[in-house]
């Protein structure tokens, strides 16, 4: 009976378990007390939080706003946009046009250098234009497809357009460094699969490090040619991805980050913080309830094709309620689409087309048009007494407000005798049914670009079954669209665009339109000098040319805590000729990962071995 033998051993075993528990708890607690930073360094770091991830940093493969912000900083164009979205010099300091407006001669700034010290010449520009056409770079082709370019000397480029192009002389396409890209982008495929982490550019900041799903770090370009009066006060910009918007807002409040694009729900909290400024900026984008115009592949409920019904529906939608309740007041009701970010392209709206919420008027219109509820079931029928007005509204589950707006819309329609069935689909499926015309109404939105052609093209007959999400067209609009594409006189072009937009507005296809603000927030105790684009009411980040970053200065009184960095200074930008080189995805986090994984694997192996060996030893004893 070996009981005496057993007792101390079991006690140690139990003690052993307790020790593990205690040790783990102590380790966890002590970990939380380790200070984050250990030493100081004079590097000014701006950290911007965002909730959109990056797919790639190659402009020939990506298209997301998060990616554009990086490219806009790294790659200058021949021209850029000033704060009012008008053409401004960038790599080119001046330009002269020919009489027919087809040929433009650009003069580059003197002494341009890429961030790695290589001279930037007219050859770079010509190579970009020619290669973007040949290899179909998808963010360039829209601008360059009709162009030919010749370098007459190192600083002069002559660009000729095969067709009259009213966008010229604006050429803001991203100019890639030929000496880096030519060896890697040998055809369309390699141009898109190149990882583009070289970190060589001509803009104010260039890529230093990319950690997928975590962060993008950019450093000041020592060779940047600069804009008038700008002297970048930020050495390093870090874009930090958050999988969770609430966590990002907390990080801003805590001072972990300096600025962020925030959700509407966070505005009330942040506005009470004395160190945080909230900026509501407009860039022309809007959301609408779109009615099927009935000219697509499939037909909607016949009532949708009657403009009187559409007018009644417009009166029945309480757009102000959407602004107040769903946008928390951070939006505005609009009555006409914005074909461009630049407000000069948006026409005035006739008061008769501004449908202020009035269900009584809506009911009256339907009564007069003969849509009556003949069987008293609460739902109106067609004027011939058949086909009750039961419609299908598509809720795009990938939009923030889709579900709420769908429910509100159903209620508003019920009040005027139209029954709404809500159909929930994701963005991709919604896009498919819209192209097929297989819906009565849906809620979604558009964000226009600077050039009004893109937005107008949505509503032309050629785009039916493709981009035309109105499933409606008008030959007059088709003609105006074609005319404005080649109209070189800006005043004439503006009036053509205004007329085209007005024709669309008269059709009453989009109702309940809200232009939602993009909400930026920044810590006013860290950096100052943020500028809006457009000047009056635009956002301060993620804009057309994002001019803020190069203009920021740290707030003098208190050095930003984000500048506390430990130890070495190896990451500081070098002299004018040494390049801040881009690196491959970071491996320090990864290294710690592998360390931990190794430990875990060892632990699992040890436990397994222990169990097996104990089993064996018991077997042997038996």
């Amino acid at each position: 009976m070996p009981s005496d033998d057993y007792i101390p051993r079991t006690q140690t075993e139990v003690l052993g378990l307790r020790r593990i528990v205690v040790a783990l708890t102590v380790a966890a607690l002590s970990l939380s007390l380790v200070p984050g930073a250990l030493a100081q360094e004079d590097r000014v770091v701006l950290i911007v939080g965002l909730t959109q991830n990056w797919d790639t940093l190659n402009p020939n493969a990506g298209y997301l706003v998060s990616e554009w912000e990086v490219w806009t900083l790294q790659y200058s164009g021949l021209t850029t946009f000033d704060n009012d979205l008008e053409i401004a010099p960038d790599l080119a300091e001046s330009w002269v046009g020919s009489d027919d407006g087809l040929t433009w001669t650009y003069t580059l700034r003197e002494g341009l250098l890429w961030s790695d010290g290589t001279p930037l010449t007219a050859d770079d520009i010509v190579w970009n234009i020619e290669t973007s056409i040949e290899q179909e770079w998808w963010n360039h082709i829209e601008t360059t497809e009709n162009l030919t370019a010749v370098a007459t000397d190192d600083r002069t480029v002559v660009v000729t357009s095969a067709v009259p192009d009213p966008n010229l002389p604006s050429l803001s396409f991203l100019v890639f460094p030929r000496h880096i890209w030519e060896p890697v982008a040998t055809d369309a495929d390699t141009a898109a699969t190149y990882d583009a982490l070289d970190g060589v550019g001509s803009g104010p900041y260039v890529l230093q490090e990319y950690r997928p799903s975590q962060s993008v770090t950019m450093v000041a370009n020592p060779n940047w040619s600069g804009w008038e009066g700008s002297d970048p006060g930020v050495d390093e910009i870090v874009f930090r991805y958050f999988g969770n918007a609430d966590a990002m807002v907390s990080a801003l409040q805590r001072g972990d980050i300096d600025a962020a694009n925030i959700p509407g729900s966070a505005v009330a909290t942040l506005e009470n913080d004395p160190n945080i400024e909230v900026v509501a900026g407009f860039q022309g984008g809007w959301e609408q309830i779109a009615i099927n115009g009935g000219m697509g592949a499939m037909e909607p409920h016949p009532a949708m094709m009657d403009r009187e019904v559409r007018r009644a529906m417009a009166y029945a939608v309480d757009t102000q309620a959407i602004v107040e309740d769903l946008w928390y007041g951070n939006g505005e009701e609009i009555h006409v689409i914005n074909p461009s970010i630049n407000p000069k392209w948006t026409p005035e709206v006739d008061p008769s087309l501004q449908f202020a919420y009035n269900p009584a008027t809506a009911n009256e219109i339907l009564d007069n048009a003969g849509y009556r509820d003949t069987n008293n079931d609460g739902v109106r029928e067609m004027p011939d007494g058949t086909n009750p007005l039961r419609i299908r509204h598509i809720v795009n589950t990938n939009t923030d407000l889709g579900q709420s707006i769908g429910e509100l819309f159903a209620g508003w329609m019920e009040a005027i005798g139209i029954e709404v069935e809500l159909v929930a689909l994701d963005s991709d499926q919604t896009g498919t049914v819209i192209a097929e015309g297989d819906y009565d109404t849906f809620h979604w939105g558009w964000t226009p670009s600077n050039n009004p052609s893109g937005m107008l093209s949505v509503f032309i007959s050629d785009e039916i079954e493709a981009w035309n999400d109105a499933n409606w067209y008008d030959e007059r609009l088709d003609a105006l669209y074609e005319a404005q594409r080649i109209e070189l006189d800006e005043a004439a072009r503006i009036s053509q665009v205004h007329e085209a937009v007005s024709i669309f507005t008269e059709a009453v296809i989009y109702i309940g339109m809200v232009s939602g603000a993009e909400l930026n927030a920044y810590r006013s105790d860290r950096f100052e000098g943020w500028v809006r684009q457009p000047t009056d009411d635009g956002p301060i980040m993620f804009t057309m040319s994002s001019p803020s970053y190069a203009l920021l200065q740290p707030v003098a009184a208190e050095p930003a805590p984000t500048t506390t960095v430990p130890g070495t200074d190896t990451t500081a930008p070098g002299s004018a000729t040494t390049a801040p080189t881009g690196t491959t995805p970071a491996d320090d986090g990864g290294g710690a990962n592998w360390l931990l994984i190794g430990g875990l694997a060892a632990a699992v192996a040890a436990v397994t071995a222990l169990i097996v060996s104990r089993r064996r030893s018991e077997d042997e004893r038996e």
Binding site: I20, D195, S215, F242, G243, S427, T432, G567, P585, G590
Partner: protein, 303 residues
């Protein structure tokens, strides 16, 4: 499994390219070229055959989103997921089993009720919600731990500070998953141990005059832990699929987040690659559990 993965994602009738083009004015010709480059102009069956051929040669294809090989995209995110899910699985296993032992041995006492109901509550909570609560508590209110991510941004750390910084970031997500999965281990251990405790051989052991602890640790536990080992092995198989919601809450750059990102689009090659990996790991660890049984359970050897 390989075939299933291909058709699973094609059931949804969506065009991966439509997503890329939305809101952009791209020449029709270029759209067609891209469609051809992705092989989307081919009939579904041709796409399938191509997929089979490439999968068997371990070519998982190129992601539609990043245009990088799927294999390297997955490998870049694998360590983060292994570290997070591995550490929480280990901790949940250890603490859950210990809790289950105490609960069974002291059944119907306050300890039992505390452990059983406590772990059940946490097991029933949605893990992302638990994560949000912990985030608010430890990061926002107390400010002890960082708000998500895998490392402090904007600083360059090396050596021990880097490891400590990393562990600080790991603490909250790992704690969330540990707490969430404690219940599973505790309940399985408890019921299995209770079953063993009614066996005659334990009465014999007690009759021999052995101490309570000896009876528990040397006689009852080895048999009671068999189902727990199975559970642990099965859970290890699911480690790779990550914790989509928890990774999102804590911005942890692992495979769970990659999966969520790939569904937007959809990025077929990436989804297929991920699910191939997930299914392979489940199958592998099931096999591991079976083999482990050979050693643990003498009865299996006889078969």
């Amino acid at each position: 499994m390989v075939c299933f993965n291909f058709f699973l994602f094609r059931i949804v009738q969506t065009d991966p390219l439509a997503h890329m083009f939305r809101g952009r004015n791209i020449p029709r010709e270029l759209q067609e070229n891209l469609r051809a480059a992705f092989g989307l102009d081919q009939p579904l069956f041709t796409q399938f055959l191509y997929y089979l051929r490439e999968t068997f040669t371990l070519n998982l294809g190129v992601s539609y989103h990043s245009r990088q090989p799927v294999w390297s995209e997955i490998m870049a995110r694998l360590p983060a997921t292994l570290a997070l899910l591995g550490s929480s699985a280990l901790l949940a296993g250890i603490f859950g089993t210990m809790g289950g032992i105490v609960a069974a041995w002291r059944r119907n006492t306050w300890k039992d009720r505390f452990i059983t109901s406590g772990t059940m509550v946490f097991y029933s909570l949605p893990d992302f919600w638990l994560g949000m609560l912990l985030l608010v508590g430890f990061s926002v209110v107390l400010g002890w731990l960082p708000i998500g991510g895998m490392g402090t941004i904007g600083v360059t750390l090396t050596g021990l500070p880097a490891v400590l910084d990393y562990l600080k970031h790991l603490t909250l997500p790992a704690m969330t998953l540990t707490i969430a999965y404690l219940g599973e281990y505790a309940l399985v251990t408890r019921s299995s141990l209770l079953e063993v405790m009614s066996e005659d051989y334990l009465t014999v052991a007690r009759a021999k005059g052995l101490r309570d602890r000896v009876v528990r640790n040397r006689h009852a536990l080895p048999n009671a832990l068999l189902p727990v080992v199975t559970l642990a092995a099965l859970n290890l198989g699911f480690i790779l699929s990550g914790a989509i919601a928890v990774e999102a809450v804590f911005s942890w750059p692992g495979l769970g987040q990659a999966t969520a990102q790939a569904i937007r689009g959809p990025d077929f090659p990436m989804l297929q690659g991920l699910f191939l990996l997930f299914s392979a790991s489940v199958i592998l660890f099931n096999l591991f559990a079976d083999v482990l049984y050979l050693y643990l359970d003498p009865r299996v050897e006889e078969v």
